[in-house]
């Protein structure tokens, strides 16, 4: 009987501003090919890959049933494939349930998105709002984030200069992540001079448009042992919804993230971790989500930044989502980076002896839905 499941292999394309030279199928195949090579798996009827969980989005892909386009590339011809239509961290949540249920002992996860394809990311997220009571006033995820950021600054005394440092740090760390391309270093002055998008969020305080595909193999304990000598156990998962209308929410309470973290930590038997990968789509979300994950007290994000919290707690050592990841894959890329740390494969950004990690993703306006995934390697069990 399967009690646990582990990430056995991970793969990523490069993260670029505009992969004009390739389409979704090619990006996805690049990831699948890496995973097949590193695990030796195939698609044989009963022993090979038979259960695939994809992550993509009809509006970003401009295509109905966006997973149908990549069926061939993920190898789902006459196999099972299901698409998670939220932040990709929920694909890890779902894969864990598929394995623990006994329905399968092996899941291939592949997520793809080209944010450079739709004319405007903001237009896509504008369409997440309802036609009568939010779209008319022009709401989109950037506007919602602006309202959240303003509330957070007011509550915690967070300074723009502190967020400039968050951006500078993200890009410095990203330089140690070979997968991140064409992301120039910036100075705090550059950040503070970049055009204002939705006060107080400036352009450089927002994650850049990014094209990428990522994936992983998740397997039951029994199979994981045959697929890798560095299994990364999924020890806890949690997620939670908050309200939709921004006025129904306390935008700085972390209501949904605290619930998601509580559930994941309860399952994992504790919240301590050597590495944290949180999905910061905007600089202000780094300290805000840190509060929600329990890295510091409620309302103490600004103090935590000032005290060098991110480096003390090994937060986003590869640049985080702020260094560029497609919105819908933010959490999945964080899980992958956390897995690389726990496999000792994080190169220049490796935390020696890292045993346990926490990864996080969020979906919806101003973090309406959050997912938390707790991971541990053999040493961390």
């Amino acid at each position: 009987m399967t009690k646990r499941a582990a990430i056995c292999a991970v793969a990523q394309t490069s993260y670029e501003r505009d992969k004009w030279y390739i389409r979704h199928q090619g990006m996805v195949w690049e990831v699948v090919e890496q995973l097949l090579k590193s695990t030796g798996l195939d698609y044989a009827e009963d022993t090979g890959i038979g259960q695939i969980v994809t992550v993509s989005d009809d509006l970003f892909d401009g295509r109905t049933i966006s997973d149908a386009a990549v069926t061939d590339a993920v190898g789902a011809h006459f196999r099972a494939e299901e698409k998670v239509s939220q932040d990709g961290a929920m694909a890890v949540y779902y894969a864990l349930s598929l394995i623990l249920s006994g329905h399968t002992d092996l899941v291939l996860i592949v997520g793809h998105c080209k944010e450079s394809q739709p004319g405007s990311r903001r237009l896509v997220t504008h369409l997440a709002f309802d036609p009568f009571f939010t779209r008319p006033v022009g709401l989109d995820y950037v506007g919602a984030a602006g309202l959240q950021a303003q509330a957070y600054h007011a509550k915690t005394g967070l300074k723009a200069e502190q967020l400039a440092d968050v951006v500078v740090r993200a890009r410095k760390n990203a330089a140690k992540n070979p997968q991140i391309k064409d992301l120039p270093a910036v100075t705090a002055a550059d950040v503070l001079a970049s055009p204002m998008l939705a006060d107080p969020i400036r352009e450089l305080m927002m994650y850049p448009v990014t094209d990428a595909a990522v994936g992983m193999i998740v397997a039951s304990e029994e199979r994981a042992k045959k697929l890798t000598d560095k299994p990364v156990w999924i020890t806890g998962v949690g997620c939670c919804y908050d309200s939709f209308f921004l006025g129904d929410r306390d935008l700085t309470s972390n209501f949904a993230l605290k619930n998601a973290a509580k559930r994941a930590y309860a399952m994992a038997g504790g919240d301590g971790a050597d590495v944290y990968e949180l999905s910061d789509m905007y600089a202000y979300q780094m300290p805000l989500w840190a509060e929600g994950l329990g890295l510091c007290g409620a309302g103490e994000g600004a103090k935590w930044l000032a005290a060098g919290g991110p480096d003390k707690k090994n937060v986003n050592l590869a640049g985080g989502t702020l260094a560029g990841a497609p919105m819908i894959l933010g959490g999945l890329t964080r899980v992958i980076e956390a897995a690389l740390q726990l496999r000792g494969e994080a190169g220049a950004r490796q935390v020696r002896g890292a045993k346990r990690a926490v990864a996080h993703g969020s979906t919806g306006p101003a973090g309406q839905h959050h997912t938390v995934v707790a991971l541990a390697n053999e040493g961390g069990r």
Binding site: W20, F132, G138, L139, Q150, M196, D199, P200, L246, L251
Partner: protein, 151 residues
């Protein structure tokens, strides 16, 4: 990769389809009240004892039916949150920059997200008193309130 570029390019296109949304009975009552009576309505949830706006048929927390729980709200309110929109998109209600604000109307417990105009957006601050400015020609839309302006 140069020599292969002749096999790779990008085709400019679009995804365009016809849609027709329904506000529903409850939503329509809110919108026709704006249009016909220039009245902004909230709904009081009997169990949560909170007045919500914008309208919804049920309370998401206790499932109480709010379809007939209308209360009239003041068209004057207080800014409880604000951001200045400074980017261009075809769906914006006003030319940027303008203030997008959370506005707690008199009688409501939850702020309505709407726009503030008739003032330098940088001066729109939390706590500012604002008043609804109704459009002359109203069509049964949230933009029958053209914008809010300092009261």
């Amino acid at each position: 990769m140069e020599e292969q570029n002749k096999d790779r390019w990008v085709v400019d296109g679009q995804l365009a389809l016809p849609y027709q949304y329904f506000a529903g009975t409850v939503g329509s009552h809110f919108l026709t009240s704006l249009r016909d009576r220039k009245k902004i309505l909230g709904q009081r949830c009997p169990t949560c004892n909170k007045v919500f706006v914008p309208p919804r048929q049920t309370c998401e927390r206790c499932f109480a039916n709010l379809a007939d729980a209308w209360v009239e709200l003041s068209d004057v309110g207080e800014v409880t949150g604000v951001t200045v929109i400074n980017y261009q998109e075809k769906y914006l209600p006003l030319p940027p920059p303008y203030a997008l604000a959370l506005i707690k109307l008199g009688g409501a417990d939850t702020p309505l997200t709407h726009v503030v105009a008739g003032v330098d957006p940088a001066n729109v601050k939390v706590g500012m008193k604002v008043k609804a400015v109704f459009a002359d020609e109203r069509k049964g839309s949230l933009l029958d309130i053209k914008y809010f302006t300092p009261a």
